[in-house]
Symmetry: C2
DNA sequence: ATGAAAGCGCTAACAG
DNA sequence: CTGTTAGCGCTTTCAT
């Protein structure tokens, strides 16, 4: 097998006895090129199944049509639906996705960032790990001209491009739902306290609760994963301090709490009420369906991609984009 | 801002007054280079935050450290967990993932394939769409030297590298679980009939059922999605032909069936039994937990990556790799 | 309307 | 131990 059939511009040019640049232009439908030449070139190119070598193109233009997506972990409803919808939108715009998981480790996160840089991605979408303190690696990437868009788990200050849920508002919606249910004793579970998303949701919930109903009895707890959520819920349920309603800040926590309630033999909503922030998949699977405040990764993904389009066009470097959400009533309250 | 601080070999070489190749070798810790030179080079490289331009490297070596993953859709438990674990393993081996969804459309699938080729990926992992009939695009890619590894939804014939679940065996396990439960009237729901995975699971179930318990009454039905599964189940439940046990070939179907049962006001397992093929996430969330045959995307992903390693090393072009699974007893039967 | 040539950043064979 | 050179495949400027 000869190398002569390698599909490159050079090869096509040689076989046709014309120059490489003419072939390149013909394939790009450049107005200078004679129609007859274009025809010849295109036919041979098709025959040879020619595809331009992306690396060569990238090397020239120093820009790839690839977006890097870095999430703490993919095995998480929210990120998973985010990635799904970003991929869909990106494809429409001619981009592909490189997906990287940080495994909740800032060291891996930084390595992933380096990988993105290595691959000269057109941009990076990042949801921070709970442990990330030092943002300088991100600043450096930004300085090198690769736009970074933070989503969901975003840095606190406003020097960045951020797309996120209206977290404080989500907490407030939860508070109002609880008050409407007339239940007084609240057990509220939150994820990692380092995250602004956690702080804001908690603040929103607690402040609104205290403002609207001063005598409410609320216990808040921080858990690291589904398993911990299950454990603390079981303990709470079998204590003499059983809450009237459990609030879960995420799907991960929710799944743990559901298992705990089942295992403890309690019934929703008569023994205990349940309210969550969720994308709705798990809530709709339960009987009765669980009341939740909807935060959709799909929606966030689409918005992120749209914002990214604007960033590329207009060269924006700061922006705060907020997605509103709403209460979906089930029968768990 | 000058261009002088662009971190390239050339730039480093200029500033140090040495040649590009010396810099290249120094950075690679080549034995020929003097320790003092290495030191100087490395210091400046660090200072400049040098990263080799991956495109230039790829262009030379014509091989990227990227694997393409093409799935019908990411919003599917199985693929999602597959991707998650493949990403983990790939990262350990120095690879990144480009992830593409075919949206159950062979046309998109082919476009995705082209994208992979364009990006000169080191290999491609594919789960076919239910509608894919023509395998010639895959053959062409294969011929061009990019190894393709099929998983889950694989082609029928054995000319490929395939990693899959022991589908027939999974069906048989289900059959035996049903027989053990003493329930006689079976309502079995399957996904797209074009897929070998569907045919095999169905065959396994039906054959084993008929062999071991000739008088069993089994109705099989094909549905396209969760919503359809819900609809047919509701119809079945309210008919006078109510089954004693419902079998679901996938998580997608299972979720529809669960909602149908809830909505119809029936209770598991006293009114109707339930058995599924699943990764376990949904089954463990229910009360009682649902009995299922475990097919784990995680496991398949890890195996796929391992097989891929062998493929790269040994240049294998055919292989059939099968993952066994087992029954996890819940209380739904 | 076409071609020649330079160069993107890197590697590696060859030459000292 | 270090430098020179050619070339990966493509784009693009400048000639002609």
């Amino acid at each position: 097998m000869h190398m002569r059939n390698k599909a490159t511009l050079k090869n096509i040019a040689n076989q046709l006895g014309i120059s490489i640049s003419t072939v390149s232009r013909a394939l790009k439908d450049h107005p200078d090129i004679a129609t007859s030449t274009k025809k010849k070139v295109r036919e041979l190119a098709d025959l040879m199944d020619f595809e331009p070598n992306a690396f060569a193109v990238y090397l020239r233009t120093n820009q790839s049509k690839v977006i890097g997506v870095i999430v703490p972990e993919l095995s998480n409803f929210f990120y998973h639906s985010f990635v799904t919808s970003v991929e869909e939108e990106a494809r429409k715009m001619g981009y592909s996705l490189i997906i990287l998981q940080s495994a909740n480790d800032p060291v891996v996160e930084e390595a992933n960032l380096k990988l993105c840089k290595l691959n000269r991605v057109a941009g990076i979408f990042v949801a921070l790990t709970p442990e990330t303190k030092d943002l300088s690696p991100f600043d450096r990437i930004n300085a090198s001209g690769i736009p970074i868009l933070f989503f969901d788990k975003v840095p606190d200050d406003n020097e960045y491009i951020k797309v996120c849920i209206a977290d404080r508002e989500v907490g407030k919606i939860a508070a109002r739902a609880i008050i409407e249910s007339k239940r007084k004793k609240v057990f509220a579970l939150f994820g990692n306290a380092n995250l602004s998303i956690t702080r804001k949701r908690k603040q929103g919930l607690v402040d609104e609760l205290k403002t609207l109903s001063p005598f409410i009895d609320i216990t808040t707890l921080t858990v690291n994963n589904s398993h911990d959520a299950k454990k603390v819920t079981i303990d709470m349920l079998k204590s003499n301090q059983r809450a009237e309603v459990i609030f879960c800040m995420s799907d991960e926590i929710l799944t743990g709490v559901i298992m705990a309630i089942h295992q403890s033999g309690f019934v929703i909503p008569s023994d205990v009420g349940l309210l969550a922030i969720s994308n709705g998949f798990v809530p709709k699977l339960m009987n009765p369906e669980i009341t939740y405040i909807e935060t959709s990764g799909d929606q966030l993904g689409r918005r992120a991609m749209k914002t990214f389009g604007e960033v590329l066009e207009k060269g924006i470097t700061k922006k705060l984009d907020i997605i509103e959400s709403r209460l979906i009533k089930g029968g768990s309250l």
